[in-house]
Structure formats: C-alpha cells, structure tokens
C-alpha cells in the first residue's frame, strides 16, 4: 500500500493518507515506548524480587508510564544559570530526532515500510550516529563536570563501537549482495542470518548494546560514578526527550536486529499461516527481553576495558568474519 502511494500521483488525498500512516507509526512507537518502559520495570521487578509498578492503572500498573510522562511534562523547566542556554535547549532535540528518522527504513512487514531505499542499512548507521552529537552537546552545555565526563565517555564509546557494528554487518551484505533491508529479509528465506553469520550476530549484538548505552555499557550514564552522566542537569520534558530517544533507539535497534539476523517478518517453517506482523513482533520481543535480561544481570564494564574490548577483540573478530564470509561465498559459487 505504501509503495503504491509513493509511486502514485502527488495529490492532496495521497499526501494525507501517507501522513496519517506516519502518524500511526508514531503512535505505535510511542505506545511501544510507554509499554517497553513498563515491561522493563515489570521484568526487572520479577527478576529482582520486587513487584514493579502496580498502583496506577490496575494491578499491572498499565498507566504508570503515562503518569510519569505527564508529571515530567508539567515540571518546571529549569535551566542552570551557568549553562550554555541555546545549546542546552538544542541538545535533546539533536539526540531524539535521529531516533525517529531511522524508523522510516525499517520493514515491519513486507507491506509496512515507509522508505524502501537502496542503502537502508547504511542510512540507519549514519543517522543514528548523530545522536552522539546531541549527547556530547548536552554534556558540554550543562557546564557540569560530571556531565562533561559522561559526554566524553559517550563520544569515545560511540567511535569504538560504531566501527565493529558496521564491520559485522558487512558479512551479511556480502551474502545478500544488497544493503536494502527488504532484500536482506528476502535473502533469509533459506535460513536466518543468525545461522549463517553467527559471529557477525554476536559482534553486532554486543556493539548494539554499547550503541544503546545499556548495561553493561552504560558508562555515559554510570549512575554510581557520574551520578547521571550527560543529562545530570536536565529535568522535566527535556530529560524526557533523552529518555524517549533512548527507548526509541531500543525499539529501532531491536527491529534492525530482527530484520538483519532473525529474518524479519519471515515465519518459521510450516507456520506460514501466522501473519508476518506477528512474527516480527515475536522476534522483536525476544530481542527486547534479552536487553532487559542483560540489564538485570551484568555489572558495568570500565571505560578503558570497553575501549580495549572494542578495538582489540570485536574489531579483529568482525574483520575475520568478513574474510570468512568472502571465502564461504566463493566456495558456494564454485559448486
């Protein structure tokens, strides 16, 4: 349907339909963020002998996040006197806009995708890198020493992990012969890439957790060391923007992992009667659950160990994987 719209005549009606669909996606994502936060708190509670939210919105705390967001929105908008005001206001926007931009290229099902561009994978990685600029800006503009340290850590972490992240998907691109996410999904009909590219998957997953700034790589926030890291001076809705960016990225990255390694909307054999959207949601939720599980289990890695791990372990492994994949591809072509 969306493809038809994109190639159809540019009338107002078509524009409004397209616009309505985009708003629909926005609501899906915001709905996800609302309930991902709740799910995270519930799952963590379950793993940590607690109940999690259970007061607002019935015994499952279904309205807890809504209440939290409302509270954040009506909070006083406090900007520290010593802060660099324009940058301080701009930073959350820089951080959260790319998070929504990357959603355009994710193929949720074979029909539901907004921009089917040839360099989809590259686009994702390029755009998501902009968020770090927002984080560094926030740390600098706050004029707070802890925030600055958090921002520096974020910058260093992004450089160290973006590279293995890109390197690990090259294996997938080699096998598919395309950077288009639709092509990548369709190429997995004979087996998901998690089976063909297990090394790439592991490297990608670790790098993705680091990209998302989640435990055990939450150095930029590092509650016990840097208090809250780069957003220590933020309150109210500006703070909410950072949290929103974080959770939208969690959504986007899990979707990307689902698409690239878990076969996107493709069903398991003999279970093709279940719609693709359900399959996508199921795989996606497994990834989200893994991320939450990580958060409950691991202590935080140290900054210098993180660099070492990124450059000395993940990068060589990713490059070796490219080499192996190239050999594999040649070998398949021979027969």
């Amino acid at each position: 349907m969306i493809e038809g719209l994109l190639t159809s005549e540019a009338t107002w009606l078509h524009f409004f339909i397209y616009f309505a669909l985009t708003v629909l996606l926005l609501f899906i994502v915001l709905g996800f963020v609302t309930y991902a936060i709740l799910a995270e708190r519930k799952v963590m509670g379950f793993m940590q002998l607690r109940h999690g939210p259970n007061q607002v919105g019935g015994r499952w705390g279904l309205l807890q996040t809504v209440a939290d967001v409302l509270k954040l929105l009506i909070k006083e908008d406090a900007i520290p006197r010593a802060a660099d005001k324009p940058l301080f206001i701009l930073a959350p926007l820089i951080a959260f806009t790319p998070a929504f931009m990357v959603l355009a290229i994710i193929p949720f099902t074979d029909r539901f995708q907004f921009a089917d561009i040839g360099v989809g994978l590259l686009y994702y990685i390029a755009v998501s890198g902009i968020t770090t600029v927002g984080v560094v800006t926030a740390g600098w503009a706050s004029n707070n020493k802890y925030a600055l340290m958090g921002a520096m850590r974020a910058a260093a972490q992004m450089i160290s992990y973006e590279i293995p992240l890109v390197m690990s998907v090259i294996g997938v691109i080699l096998l598919t012969g395309s950077m288009n996410l639709n092509d990548i999904v369709l190429a997995q009909e004979n087996g998901w890439y998690i089976l063909w590219q297990p090394i790439a998957f592991i490297v990608f997953f670790i790098a993705a957790v680091a990209e998302l700034n989640r435990v055990p790589f939450d150095l930029a926030e590092a509650e016990s060391e840097l208090v809250a890291g780069y957003f220590v001076e933020y309150t109210g809705f500006r703070w909410a923007f950072f949290m929103l960016a974080e959770y939208v990225y969690m959504f986007a990255m899990s979707a990307l992992i689902t698409v690239v390694f878990l076969g996107g909307w493709l069903p398991l054999p003999y279970l093709g009667f279940i719609p693709g959207a359900v399959w996508f949601a199921l795989k996606f939720m497994v990834v989200i659950f893994l991320l939450i599980w990580f958060r409950v289990t691991f202590p935080r890695i140290r900054a210098d160990q993180l660099m070492e791990f990124g450059w000395k372990v993940l990068l060589p492994v990713a490059i070796a994987n490219i080499f192996l994949t190239a050999l594999l591809k040649e070998w398949i072509n021979l027969f």
Binding site: M44, M47, Q48, L49, R50, K145, Y146, M149, M152, V215, P216, D218, L219, A222, E223, S224, E225, L226, V227, R295, V296, T297, F298, P299, R300, I301, R302, A303, D304, Q305
Partner: protein
C-alpha cells in the same frame, strides 16, 4: 597545540557511591586522578564527649549509632570494656546469645557490603538479593531485641532479653538457607568476567603497607596476614568454636571480596555450633551491682567487628560516668589508605576502591 587542564572535582558528600556523607576532593586529568583529599566529619555527633556525661548503660544506645550496620558488636565492645574493669562473670546463656547475635550481625553487615559494592560496580540485582537475606536476619534480631538496626540489646553483665520461644530454632533453620543463597551469589557474581576485570588488581597494597596504615578486618586479611581477634586473642567464648581465619593473598579488591564472602561462611559455622551448644536454661543477666561504678583506672579492649578491630578505651575515676571514653573505630583507620590508593586511578576505579574498603560513615565520623 592541545592544552590539557586539571579539573577539581568534588565527589560527595551527596553522591550515590560514597556510602553516606563522605566527601572526596579529587584533582583529575581527563579521568585520571592526580590527587585525592578525603573530607570527613559531616556525620560527627561527638559520641565520645556525650558519653562523658552519661552512665554506662545510657551509653549503649549511642554505640548502636556508630557502626549502624553491625550494632551488636558495638554494644558488645562497650559492655566488654566495662565488664573487664569490674571483673564481672557473664552467665553462659548470655554469652551464647551475644555470640549468636553478633555473628548474625556480621553476616548482615557483609551482605549489605556485598550488595552495595555490586551496586557501585553497576549491577543492580545483587543488592536486592542481599537485602532479602539481610531482612531475615534483621527480623530475627528484631524479635530478640525489639530493634531493627539500633538494638540496644546488650547490658553490662549480660543481655537485656532472653531469646523468645522458638527463636533458636529459627536461627537453626536460617543457616542452611543462607548457605544455599551464598552458593547462588557465587553463580551470579563471583565468576562473572566483567566483575573479575573490575576488581582484580584494583587498590592493591602489600602486607607491610597494610600494617603501616593500621588496617584491620578484611582490609588486612586480604594481604595474607591471618589476624582475626576472634582467634588471635579470643574474647567471650570464641575459643569454644572451630572456625578458620579467612585470608587472601592478592591484597586487592578481589581479595577483600573473597575474604568477606568466606567470612559469611565461617560465621555460619560458628552459628551452627553455637545453636548446637546453646544451654537449655539459665540466667541472661549476671550479678551486677545496681549502680555500675567501675573502679578507678583504665581499660582497653578490642574485638573483631565486621569492619575490623573495634576498640574501647575507658578511663574511670570510680564514678557512674566515665572520665573519658574512646572508641577505636575501624572504618576511620581503614579509610586512611584511600588517598594513596587513588592516585593514578580513574573515576570508575575510585568507586571500586572506596567500596572495597567498606566504610560506614557513622563510624568514621563518630
């Protein structure tokens, strides 16, 4: 031309990982610490001075508030000092109750350390597991003393309350449960690669340095020196129990971690024997004069608290109040080595080193 500048960073007194109101002024270059200066005294309440105007029994609640994570040992050290001066006999049953409560307190204290230390290192779950077990201990102690943290349980000459019916059985049931949980802790944390990388070789010092700085407790034993007052200079009835002095030979945060975890095990061993030998009947309060007036003179006793050697010095003029009372507070002494350990480390290690020392600010500041 790149020019770097040192930054003066104020860590605490309101900081999530300084365990109370400890303040540390550090000079950093990037994340590297060049100089560190601890500032203490935010929780100073003048316990020792207040004590000069109080009768001995009235001082006991104040000792609860020194090391509030292991108040039983503090209770004991004061009572022990007064009893030593007055040469009192303590009934058998009271001695056993004291040992049981003190060892329960030791386990609870180490559990808090274990949980908060991992919280410092960024792992959130162990804290909640540790507090589940600690809650059980606190409930036990609450049942016998009426207080959850500040027990005010021991008295000169014995203990205030006898164990309620079935209390010993509850302690007995707790021991195997705790053993099982301890094994679970090992699965969750001790073998974790990230955790090992964070603690191995961090905050290392030698046996000589530890002795020069007068460290005690796990901070001393992690260097390989087997010095535990319960065994080296047995007080109360500790000579009746078989247990080992836990040591490690690394002298780093990892060594301190191992020592504390093993100490929980050894405390369980002591508890096991104590509830086994617990006398069926008997008094819990010895023959003590109505008004406690230690003879003129002075006394110093020291015992092993979860944090190290806690000592109590009393100078008496034969009155109802002490002329001078002084506590040797182990956290205060253990903290002195911190600036030396911090130089050349980064921010993340700062937290790991400070946490491994295991300070309680109530005790540091007195």
């Amino acid at each position: 031309m790149i020019r770097t500048e040192e930054m003066l960073l104020n860590v605490g007194p309101q900081h999530p990982s300084t365990h109370g109101v400890f303040r540390l002024v550090i000079k950093i270059d990037g994340e590297m610490i060049i100089d560190a200066k601890p500032v203490i005294g935010y929780l100073h309440r003048g316990t020792e001075k207040i004590a000069e105007n109080l009768q001995y029994t009235q001082i006991i609640p104040y000792t609860d508030r020194l090391d509030y994570l292991a108040a039983m040992t503090n209770n004991y050290v004061l009572c022990h000092a007064v009893e030593t001066m007055m040469e009192l006999d303590i009934p058998e049953r009271a001695e056993y109750l004291r040992i049981i409560t003190m060892e329960l307190g030791r386990i609870a204290s180490h559990l808090v350390w274990w949980g908060t230390y991992l919280l410092d290192l960024g792992a959130t779950s162990p804290f909640l597991y540790a507090f589940r077990e600690r809650e059980m201990i606190i409930n036990l102690l609450n049942e016998i003393s009426g207080g959850r943290l500040t027990f005010n349980y021991m008295r000169v000459g014995g203990v205030k309350w006898d164990a309620p019916d079935g209390w010993i059985e509850k302690v007995k049931a707790f021991i195997p449960y705790m053993r099982e949980q301890l094994a679970g802790y090992g699965d969750l944390v001790t073998g974790n690669e990230i955790f090992l990388n964070r603690v191995k070789g961090i905050g290392q010092y030698t046996k000589e340095e530890a002795m020069d700085y007068s460290l005690s407790g796990a901070n001393l034993r992690c260097t390989g020196l087997a010095w535990d007052l319960r065994k080296s200079e047995p007080y109360s009835i500790y000579d009746r129990f078989s247990f080992e002095i836990c040591t490690a030979d690394t002298g780093d945060a990892w060594g301190r971690y191992q020592v504390r975890i093993q100490e929980i095990e050894q405390s369980l061993r002591i508890l096991e024997q104590a509830v086994e030998q617990f006398p069926e009947t008997g008094e819990v309060m010895g023959k003590v004069p109505k008004v406690i007036k230690p003879p003129k003179g002075e006394a110093f006793v020291r015992i092993e608290s979860p944090r190290g050697e806690i000592g109590c010095y009393i100078a008496s003029e034969g009155k109802k109040e002490p002329y001078r009372l002084k506590f040797r507070r182990p956290s205060f002494y253990n903290l002195q080595i911190l600036p030396k350990l911090l130089v050349g480390q980064n921010m993340a290690n700062l937290i790991a080193i400070l946490g491994a020392i295991d300070i309680v600010l109530g005790e540091v500041d007195g």
